[in-house]
Symmetry: C2
Subunit: 324 residues, 2 copies
DNA sequence: ATTTTTTATAGAAACGTTTCGATAAACCAT
DNA sequence: ATGGTTTATCGAAACGTTTCTATAAAAAAT
């Protein structure tokens, strides 16, 4: 493993000169720089990241701490992040191991994007207090080292409620997300407020944003659901679970009852009928989040933004109910 | 940022004693260890990874270098890898940026799992030559620093061909994968050999393992396909593209023609009819690959293994064709 | 021709650990 | 009590860079 020292010896110069040359400093003359670069290549030199980081305190790596990698969801988000990071000199790594906070605390990343990772509020604040720049995608936190780029659930969810209420549902079955989850809270609020304003009863069921929890909710909900009801799942994974269970049931989605989700996963276009859902641009989200983080790292200025959402109507919503 | 030095001063001992204490060396007495640990906690001490790595030449990080993160495919694989890595002291990071080879060459990872990343053969060999332990999931390479855990495409693909040939197809349309891709080559060989043995003509179409390329292939293929033909896509993403195109076409999948894929993605259970495909355990694949890599890192012994595959029959295969 | 300024390079310290070899204190057998 | 072992701790070097300060040589000014 050739180091800067070997290059220096080979070139007959000091190690500092080699360092300057390789880093493009104007302190070294162009002729010697070229000579040094050539020798470095011949020796197959690659800098030692650990040594450099030790001195400069920069890794030029940013970490995306995600809850899991499931679904096409994260793929699109990461695509946006990577796009934004291209040619910035920063490299992205995705972390979701149970011990991944080590990557943060031991300063292996210059900053982090956090979405759905099971960090507690205290951990996050501790990271920020220790001086790590963070961009949150899944909750709002006030801190000079934290920026937030959150989804604006209101717009899309209100449109979804417009569509649901227009069918005059008897009752709404609401399948909730994890307690305390920012998006779940926002989405639920719209459902509850709008339903109460329209005088429609809401019956709530526990959910965790997973397909499995959707299946569980559906099997309980089946006992009491009636023709003319609507099922609102706060995300598509759960809606998919409900869809699966409803396949072997007398009431038909889109005819007898309505089913809607949130996220507009690709798979909702393959169900029969397609599941109406709320869409938003995942790549844009990733891009904005990455940009916010870079700004935080380099200009030390935090910010707060939102990503718009939009309801996509589809056949899983039944025709107007002429009740009574 | 408190360091080992601050702890030493606070405890009135030398820095070497602190280091020994924190690393659980038996050289330091239990009483002082406890005292030092307590002080470390009070000072909120976190080790500096860069400094440690510089000295020990170990990062205790392993990298998964993937082509992209799309689909549920990678999610399940990574779950298996993370499971295997739990409690080993190694942490996983996922890398797919365009410049991610820096993470490897600059020794930010102790080893790497490679699947579908756009590294060239030369790059991989260079990594291995430089002493980086690698486990390949997508091609076979002989090298003391490389282990391979490859998918055994033969089993499942042969079963799939059994099912297809049983229907007596007029002609087979084969939608290929990327040229040179290990899995594509293996799968194609089975199709071509079995078809030729059965005296069935095979017509081949270009594909890239993406849905988009499946759509492209389908739109060309539509011009010539006839009732009684079978379409074999070498993966499910492409089969899904073909499925989409065929939705607005006169010949019906599972009735007039057959369509099969490979990978058994969840979404194939939502198409109408479900797409028959070849399944294999992605978590197992991840686990075995991770274990092989750890073994390579710690025992410096490489290995070669395969993961079995299995055909899952479904309604996208038409009934027997009583031709002639 | 001498002094001053600029330029190119060298030397050395520092980053925060780990770990080897040295030393002093404590223990043990005689 | 004495010498030999073991044990607990310390000091210093090393890992491979970056970067500050010093210095010698070259260029510019007088």
């Amino acid at each position: 493993m050739a180091g800067i020292k070997d290059i220096a010896k080979e070139a007959g110069v000091s190690i500092s000169t080699v360092s300057y040359a390789l880093n493009g400093s104007p302190k070294v003359t162009e002729k010697t720089r070229q000579r040094i670069i050539k020798i470095a290549e011949e020796l197959n030199y690659v800098p030692n990241a650990a040594a450099r980081t030790l001195k400069t305190r920069k890794t030029h790596i940013i970490g995306a701490f995600l809850g899991d990698y499931s679904g096409s969801f994260y793929g699109e988000l990461l695509k946006g992040i990577n796009q934004e990071l291209a040619d910035t000199g920063y490299e992205l790594i995705v972390c979701n191991g149970p011990e991944s906070h080590r990557l943060m605390t031991e300063r292996m990343v210059d900053g982090a994007l956090i979405l759905g990772h099971r960090f507690t509020q205290e951990q996050i604040l501790e990271f920020a207090d220790r001086g790590h720049p963070l961009t949150m995608l899944d909750r709002e936190i006030e801190h000079p080292n934290i920026s937030c780029v959150l989804l604006d659930n209101q717009i899309g969810m209100n449109q979804e409620m417009d569509a649901i209420l227009e069918t005059n549902p008897n009752q709404i079955h609401l399948v909730n997300g994890p307690v305390g989850n920012h998006d779940a809270v926002e989405r639920r609020k719209v459902v509850v407020d709008r339903a109460s304003a329209a005088g429609v009863a809401v019956r709530e069921w526990n959910g965790e944003f997973t397909k499995r929890s959707g299946i569980r909710a559906a099997s309980e909900l089946l006992e009491v659901i009636q023709e003319g009801d609507a099922i609102i799942c706060l995300n598509d994974d759960m809606a998919l679970g409900v869809y699966d269970v409803l396949q072997n049931f007398s009431l038909r989605i889109g005819e007898d009852i309505s089913l809607v989700g949130f996220d507009k996963l690709e798979i909702t276009n393959y169900t029969q009928p397609r599941i109406a859902s709320v869409s938003y641009s995942k790549p844009d989200w990733g891009k904005k989040a990455a940009r916010a983080l870079l700004h935080l790292i380099e200009a030390k200025e935090n910010s707060k933004q939102t990503i718009p959402s939009k309801f996509i109507k589809d056949a899983s919503i039944r025709k107007k109910n002429n009740k009574k």
